[in-house]
Symmetry: C2
Subunit: 464 residues, 2 copies
């Protein structure tokens, strides 16, 4: 469906045909110009090495740079391209793409490349690498238009045309003052429709939003989304523009951010993909599992304290898994909701209280409902299959129902407070909350359940 709709294979086929059947390189260029660079990039894998080499020599470095920036894992092709062409390509690339590519080239090749990389590209790569992966600065591209505040409309237009040759993020034009500090932005549309005699000043938004290079990506994603611009400028502490973040970068960032939390919620220390080695996967999954193993042993100790109950009334163990699973699921639900809320907005103390109270209410309602269902259905079940008298059966199912209610209410609260707590002390709640919550909920559930069983069934009603 997807493939058919987006015509990917068809584009690819056509591209292959062009590359294989073009009489001349000029002809090949002419025809390929009609295709999106991403489609050309995706068709590389269907070509054999000779055909790819033909393509490399047919297209200039600038074009190849565009194409390669669309390839997820370009290294395999890098080796095929000669050093000279490769260096030219890297010099033509957007800084952020160049960084991605550079990271994946072996040192042996890098040694030969370094002297051939121009200083501007070198500087850009150094700059981007100087930021941590979770800082906004690590996402920037230096591919943007920047003009001086004092220009006239006509001069600005000229400057735009000059810079547009190099840089293709032109929808917003950034403006700097006499000391090269960011002072505002012009919407290209306004510049294009502006009459020549109006002052450029009247087109500039002087309070245009911006990001700071060292702020955390996760902290700024929501804001970037809110401004819904094609790009936002990134400034250093001197208010100099070091680069921009484009909407495409934001798409990636949102995807990564959520993907990570999604993975963490499931007990992975980081996101995995298909091509990962088994060792890598194990490394990402084992930490939590080990923590859980030991926390689980803690729970075991507590359960052990109730051996007595089970010894005299074995029927109760039938429903332990039921209660623990329910508590666990409710806890996860509250956890997921809380993490998303914490991620999406800056919560005031009032909001947090509100959220916790709401989770409590939801938990109580769900708990009451499920408790009653358990009481009824399990009661019947125990009469039919365990041969207890109706009275005793409903005493037992009553214990289960009550425990469910208690376990669910407490799980909802724990699933809300624990992540908030971690968030407050600046520990990523998505990572840390899971195991702790599971354990707390298990303990609560076990104690309530066996405790009730002990008091009601054995002490009070001497069911044995």
């Amino acid at each position: 469906m997807k493939k058919e709709v987006l015509k990917e294979p068809i584009f690819a086929e056509k591209i292959l045909r062009i590359i294989r059947s073009s009489p001349s390189m000029e002809e090949m260029r002419e025809q390929l110009r009609d295709y999106h660079d991403n489609d050309i990039a995706q068709s590389l894998k269907y070509l054999n090495r000779a055909e790819r080499n033909l393509l490399y020599s047919a297209l200039d470095a600038e074009w190849l740079a565009e194409i390669i920036s669309y390839i997820d894992d370009p290294v395999e092709y890098v080796d095929e391209i000669g050093i000279d062409k490769l260096s030219a390509i890297i010099n033509e690339m957007d800084a952020d793409d160049a960084v991605d590519l550079w990271e994946n080239i072996d040192e042996s090749v890098k040694v030969k490349l370094r002297p051939m990389i121009d200083d501007q590209t070198k500087a850009a790569i150094l700059l981007i690498n100087s930021y941590d992966d979770d800082e906004v600065g690590s996402l920037i591209t230096t591919n943007y238009i920047c003009i001086h505040q004092s220009l006239t409309i006509r001069q600005a237009m000229h400057e735009l045309v000059r810079q547009a040759g190099e840089n293709d993020n032109i929808a917003t034009i950034y403006v700097v003052d006499g000391r090269n500090r960011f002072c505002g932005a012009i919407d290209l549309k306004d510049l294009i429709v502006a009459r020549e005699n109006v002052p450029l000043d009247s087109l500039i938004s002087y309070a245009y939003p911006y990001l700071l290079d060292h702020e955390k990506i996760s902290d700024s994603i929501e804001k970037i989304k809110d401004y819904a611009e094609d790009s936002l400028p990134v400034l250093n502490r001197d208010k100099k523009i070091i680069g921009i973040i484009t909407a495409q970068d934001v798409v990636e960032a949102v995807d990564d951010e959520l993907g990570e939390d999604y993975a963490k919620l499931a007990g992975l220390s980081a996101e995995e993909d298909l091509n990962e080695t088994i060792a890598e996967s194990i490394k990402k999954r084992l930490p939590w599992l080990i923590i859980l193993l030991f926390l689980g042993m803690g729970v075991s100790t507590v359960v052990g304290a109730f051996e007595g109950v089970v010894a005299v009334l074995p029927v109760v163990i039938c429903f332990q898994s039921l209660i623990l699973d329910m508590a666990g699921n409710v806890g996860t639900q509250s956890l997921a909701v809380t993490i998303r809320v914490l991620m999406d907005e800056n919560l005031s103390a009032k909001d947090k209280l509100h959220l916790a109270a709401k989770e409590m209410k939801v938990g109580s309602c769900n708990g009451a409902l499920l408790g009653v269902m358990a009481l009824v259905f399990l009661g019947v079940y125990i009469v039919l299959f365990k041969g207890y008298s109706a009275a005793n059966a409903f005493l037992i199912s009553g214990c289960v129902g009550l425990s469910l209610l208690a376990a669910i209410v407490i799980s909802s609260l724990v699933g809300t407070l624990v992540p908030m707590l971690f968030h407050k002390v600046k520990i990523d709640p998505a990572v840390a909350s899971g195991p702790l919550i599971t354990t707390i909920n298990d303990l609560v559930a076990v104690v309530t359940y066996y405790g009730l069983a002990w008091v009601f069934l054995i002490d009070l009603f001497h069911l044995v």
Copy 2:
């Protein structure tokens, strides 16, 4: 931190000061022009009604339309704006924003509005509403530049300037043929730098990627991301452009898509937010919990079959929760990885086999490791706290270790195959997989554990 960095309160304060202290409306407009519409939108909530009314009358409908499109819940303000202004605003809005707003206006107001909405806006709203929420057509905006194939560069430039007044997504210019069918696209940058004497034809990409109005958003998100364009055209079956999808729409779509899966993984039938009523939250959480309650009863029945074991050897129940929790966690890890992979790529049968095999291997390694740890630590624990002889203690912990291994391996496999199966039969794996996997894993774990306990500890070694 976030707030401070993005200067939101500071922007807001300045905007408030301007609105409160401007001597004239002209003056207010002049000063507000420097601010981003989103910042003006966010500062509305800090104004009192009188101040907002002042703003409404100071700004023209086009500007207010921009501002309102940034407000998440504009209804509260809609009532304050007079019908005449409101209708003017809606007529100025991008089609997709107009739709969002329109949905939230009460029928009583709509009745008055309808006659004042111009036909173009009416048509756009009708068009967008004619698509299901999960179809690409429901995301489009009609705010784009479209020119005719046969124009010259100069004519195209003129047309651009003319349309740019209305439409602000100008980075890509869409081209239609003589029969008004989409035939390609021009990168604005190329048009701007082009010399006047070259034919427009040479700037047009004739195989430009596009989306079809009825395709599923979830199916196309990855592709849209891959092309990394500011916008992509959306065509109907006659190859006519009905609108475009912008990078901002994609950001939202990616966020929603992942948020939904994230919620579903946690057992919510849909994503929740802070402002939801308790009833809504319960409606989203209860379905799964009820299913799990009944599946859990199934597990209880199986556990019940082993009452005999527990009656004679109560110590074994200590570790049931440990084994079930571990199985559950491993299953969730595999589930999360599989769903993400299924979401991100079109898997060939080979890939699927590869993935399943990998999960098996990872599961075996983790299982073996954790099994051994359980054997050792629990063995010691049982000797110390349960007063069993070393031999018996390690027999018991051996059972636990073996069960862990078995349970973890099988959980990994189940956690991979079940979502694949659902995906194959076109059921959303994120929704359906969770409860089924939990149950299967519980059953497997319980049977292995108590089965082993029975055979080894009781039959073979007569531990009792």
